[in-house]
């Protein structure tokens, strides 16, 4: 979902930044388990990072804001595990009530060594593209004014704004299609630098800039007559 509250760049009203001295890695043990469960079930859920983000964004805005970070992750994970049939409501209810459930071993889990290897190896998001770049470093471009109903990584605050391409990063998986499993649809990725005054108006510092990584379909050339 695109125009929802997760896209919060430039919003007012959230107050001072809450900082904590000597913050632990995990505040509660269950938070680490949630992260671990997410990372170890990825292959069985046949998920991808864009769909995962998209799932979070589909929460009603009030819910999104009210949930703690790992709580949001957990509720998403539990929901997806049920949707994809990995676990059933009945099994969970039994466990909540303090009963055990039978071992059925429907799949082969990832072991600790493989998990470490997967983590250390990382994933590749880059893809070879045949098409030549539409834009070059130094080009002035406009971020399109688009409002898709689906997932996108073009923040609202940049839409319709003009910036300069400062880097080109080759072909990369396109989140807008990958999020719905309708294909990786790789597109070229650029870094575009916007002046703060162009984004926020004349009250912004004239020196300041914001750099955003944007895929080619998010960008358009500036027409010569404008």
């Amino acid at each position: 979902m695109t125009n929802s509250v997760h896209d919060m760049g430039g919003m007012h009203g959230f107050g001072p930044i809450p900082r904590e001295d000597n913050e632990p890695i995990f505040h509660e043990e269950w938070e680490g388990r949630v992260l671990g469960l997410m990372m170890t079930t990825g292959a069985h859920l046949k998920s991808n990072i864009d769909n995962t983000r998209s799932q979070s964004e589909m929460l009603p805005p009030a819910t999104y804001l009210s949930l703690a970070y790992y709580e949001r992750w957990f509720l998403r994970l539990e929901r997806v595990c049920k949707q994809k049939g990995l676990v059933s409501e009945r099994d969970l209810a039994a466990l909540w009530a303090g009963h055990d459930i039978p071992e059925t071993l429907e799949a082969e889990p990832i072991g600790p060594d493989d998990m470490r290897r997967i983590f250390a190896k990382g994933r590749s998001y880059t893809r070879q593209l045949d098409a030549s770049p539409l834009f070059a470093v130094g080009d002035t471009v406009r971020a399109k004014n688009i409002n898709p109903k689906g997932h996108t990584r073009l923040p609202r605050y940049a839409r319709g704004k003009v910036g300069v391409v400062t880097a080109e990063h080759g072909g990369q998986i396109f989140p807008d299609t990958n999020a719905t499993f309708s294909g990786e649809g790789p597109e070229r990725l650029y870094t575009v630098r916007f002046r703060a005054t162009d984004l926020w108006g004349s009250d912004a510092n004239t020196k300041d800039t914001v750099c955003i990584d944007l895929w080619e379909p998010y960008l358009e050339t500036i027409r010569a007559d404008r």
């Binding site: 469960l37 079930t41 983000r53 998001y125 300041d208």
Partner: protein
Amino acid sequence: MPHDSHDHTDPPSDLTLRVKALETALTRKGYVDPAAVDAVVDTFETKVGPRNGAAVVAKAWTDPDFKQRLLDDASAACAELGFSGQQGEQLKAVENTDDVHNIVVCTLCSCYPWPVLGLPPSWYKSHAYRSRAVIEPRAVLEEFGVSIPEDKEVRVWDSTAELRYLVLPERPDGTDDLSEDALAELVTRDSMIGTGVAKK
């Protein structure tokens, strides 16, 4: 509480119990090996974290060739020191200079360079930081005790794609005699996000 549907039970409000139930269910079905979950937790608690990034920065401060490699291809340069993996596949190092102060945010979620900085602090994921860093970076920096002169550019990096940013902070004056290890002690997590500067 009675319910209309016999198939539905309200989940427990205790998240410890609820998470445990999901892990147990997934384990019984063969989708999860709890030892693999332990491995993830151990990785974040002991293997990745800002000390990795600090080692990278200290090396860049003392070794000009390494610094150049870091600025050219940060993933490859960090991998030289053994730091690579998920959420660090495409690292980019951005250098603070006399003219530019860099600061990193993810306005859309919580993207962060795990191999070099570990998991993000809560404030990095907070609605306040995500909303404000792009529109009023100087006010944000002031909250962190960092004052940037009006005529120096504050450059905000919004991590919207799979690139992950590491700020290369300025080396403090008067540290010429310090070893690489001693220099690494000066490199704070926040200085590598851009909301801080290296300790003096």
